[in-house]
Symmetry: C2
Subunit: 209 residues, 2 copies
């Protein structure tokens, strides 16, 4: 069975959403990204992930795959009939890769990452000054579309849903982009997305208690 | 014919390397990423690229593709016999996506981008403190391998070659990771890689003159 190493509400949430949308069974292991310990057994998470970063997907053959863009496409391709990624050969497959890269680099690594990890004002001034321009790109795209790619939910939507959820605790009110806030509501109304978020929010609250 | 919008020695260099390694003809247009003007005709680059970022690949049908991870895979798939990406269905395709994401997010967006765009000390302290850990990941991987993925040159190598070239002007001496510096020498010895770099270095020097 697939094993997903995750931290609640970190970017591994996208992978959980993808697994649940595809109805693929998996074992979930909480990897503490701050202490770098795997909660199951206290072992060092860096033995699995050199940067101590989630997600890590352990495949059926024991190989480990990291980086959301790769993990999400792997999950989507396990069950093509779920439609979580355009099939290879469809030009929209490159659109999916374009969005996964944009979300991973421009929203996550350029803004959410320094916000949650660096925290000091010096680190945050420039990323904060840039985020509105960044968010205008998906906001414009989604003004006339229900999903990021094609006419159905893909792993790009799983990833953007996670990123938009994190913007509020990062101090950005997405209500200023109505197309993004209605998109997030639509995505959160999907049963699998909702269930994934409820599970991880409960874990996050339990850890804070 | 394909049209590549690039800025000399910016991350679009990877796409030029890929096109030249695959021997795919393309028209190259210099897009000034600082002034956001296309040098050919002075038009606004943001009409093509909402973030004013390179690369932008204009496809034969006029569609535009952005983000190196997507553009590089598109170029590789145009000419599968060049071997620039494992074919779809090969598990190594996900390794390629993993490296493209790692290079794009962890090396480029988390380190090179703030170094060249933000410049102030406040923005740079944390990225600088983190880059050695980041670079130890490809350094360890390449200690026993000639290429990032499989047994041949792929677009992941094109992208890492670009990133390693930029580390020196970003103040990082990669000699401290012998596997990375010998890898970069090997890559630069490839005729197509060398030709791509020579072309863009000449343009860069001409712009500075």
């Amino acid at each position: 069975m697939l094993q997903l190493y995750f931290f609640p509400m970190a970017c591994s949430l996208s992978s959980r959403i993808a697994l649940m949308e595809a109805d693929i069974e998996a074992q979930y292991h909480l990897a503490h990204i701050w202490t770098k310990r795997i909660v199951d057994d206290g072992s060092d998470f860096r033995d699995l992930s050199p940067m101590g970063a989630v997600p890590v997907l352990v495949l059926e053959n024991g190989d480990r795959l990291t980086e959301s863009a790769a993990v999400l496409q792997y999950i989507a391709d396990l069950k093509p009939q779920a439609g979580l990624a355009p099939r290879f050969g469809d030009p929209d497959r490159y659109r999916l890769q374009e969005w996964l890269s944009f979300i991973g680099a421009e929203i996550h690594k350029a803004f959410l990452f320094p916000t949650f990890w660096y925290k000091d004002e010096g680190s945050l001034a420039k990323p904060r000054a840039r985020i509105a321009q960044t968010l205008s790109v998906p906001a414009t795209h989604l003004a006339s579309r229900e999903f990021l790619v094609g006419n159905g939910f893909t792993v790009a939507d799983a990833h953007l849903t996670w990123a938009l959820l994190l913007l509020r605790p990062a101090g950005i009110d997405i209500a200023q982009w109505p197309s993004l806030s209605t998109y997030l509501e639509r995505m959160q109304a999907r049963p699998a997305v909702k269930a994934a978020i409820v599970t991880e929010m409960a874990l996050r609250r339990a850890m804070a208690a």
